[in-house]
Amino acid sequence: MEIIELINVKREFKILNRREGIAGGIKDLFSRDYRYLSAVDDISLKIKKGEIVGYLGPNGAGKSTTIKMMTGILEPTSGKVLVNGKEPYRNRIENAQDIGVVFGQRSQLWWSLPLKESFKVLKEIYQVSDKDYKDMLDLYMSLIDIKNLWDKPVRQMSLGQRTLSDILAAFLHNPSVVYLDEPTIGLDVSMKSKIQEFIKGLNSQKATTIILTTHDMGDVDALCNRIVIIDKGKKLYDDNIENLHKMFGMYRIMKICFSKDVGELDYDSLKDKAAELEKELQENFSGDDMTVSVDEGWIDILMNEEDVSLMEVMNFIQSKQHIYNIKLEEISTEKVIKKIYEGGTIL
């Protein structure tokens, strides 16, 4: 059953062109000049109950605009959004009863209230029954240790604790959809994995649908079965992660080290070397998407095995310079996404 459905959704904004300099500032006082921008351009999407969907895209791709339409605070210019069969922007309050929202850096909790008091207020707002409330808290206790948060006012919490509290609050009324916007931004590694585990646990226990927007591929790898990538308002990719990797399955990263002691090479000279090598490789081999980059003393060559042979590339480099060490790696999700953003092609 589809819990969220987007049908040819489009959203445009009017934007003011500011002129430059003092003279421009004076001109702006008297006349204003607008242009139109499509933040979301004809996107269709179906999301099933219980799915965790990674909603990805570079900054300004239209992610938050889509989320705003799904949460009911923004109306599409054309097309239709359905959440639980209803258009959220037609009835924001009814929709809000059944969703949870978390912004990584904007706490929605009462700044000066201890967490337990915030929860009591939320219980009233969402009209959660005593039993459901208690059940949910028990579930929380079974998944994560929250004792040390319980009596603390939000203003005294660390960023990690605050984010965790916000996530707890978002699930408190057992919503059918939870939107997580950069939930792990700025957090340390252990807090990140703690939060990822917690979200996964809730999703499997309550079959909550989760829409996750993030720039952190660690979150995506840990949580999402499916990813949707958009850029410039258009959908570029919509499938599971395995297929994404398969699509780039023939891509390999060859890591080469030219020196015994990695530490003695300085970054600038390596960088020059990488640029030079990239030029040479592109001249000598047919694969036009070969890129060379630097990674802590190593030089990374990204190549598509369908186009070029690994051995040939290795021999080519060997003929010019002595290779001290070599490694082969599968392409990471992060690199895949980066390639999609850079390419901008619809897959």
């Binding site: 938050s64 605009t65 605070i73 309050i93 809000a96 009863q97 904007r106 000066s112 707002i125």
Partner: protein, 267 residues
Amino acid sequence: MKKRNVKFYLAIYFKIISQDIKSKLSYRVDFIISTMGILFTNIAGFITFWIIFKNFDNINDWNYYEILFLYGFSLMALTPTQCLFDNNWNLRDYVYSGDFIKYCFRPIDLYFYYISEIFDLKGIGEFMMGVGIIVYAWINLKYSVTILGILALIVMWIAASLVMAGIMNIAAATCFWMNNSGYVMVTVFKFTEYTKYPIDIFNKGFRIFFSFIIPIAFVTYYPSMVVLNSHNLPILTIIAPIFSVLFFYISYRIWMFGASRYNGTGT
């Protein structure tokens, strides 16, 4: 699902306020400095006023105690705006930084949710001062004390407070349309200083302006007439309670309209 009626909102409101006061009391320094700030403002206002009356013995046939009564009433009428609606002053920052969006996802009225977040204790000092001044003026004016009179005063006080809150709602809501609406709030708030003076010092045009465009006359002058001119109530005093409810409702609609418009711009 229970219906979200007035009772529901009141229950939530008192829950938030009682928690908030509890936690605020633990920040005592802030409370003391802020309260002193409020008292300073009012003492200064009083000095200004006293200096004028040192040089002149009446304004438009209103004597010192009558003007003092207006002054006390205006302090009382400003208090609810100060205590209950103070978050309006932060609206501009929230909108400007984009943080306003965090208020938009709760299944309750957006305006209520936003305003309920802050309860500002420091207004209480102002209220006490207002009551003190009114009592002092009342005694010196040698008016009799009747239950009906006090009841009428309370009704008028509520009406006046609603108008004041409404004015600040609209002033705050301007930030949904313009960048630097801090100036609007400051400017409008400055006018409240002039609520203390009798409206009949103005010519007809400005009486209309201050009655219906920026209705500060409904914050002090008209409501106060229920005591100062009880034998000959102006028509606008009689309609003040209805006017205030209507005005507050309109201000609420404007605020909500602005909020929906703000989200539409995607900032």
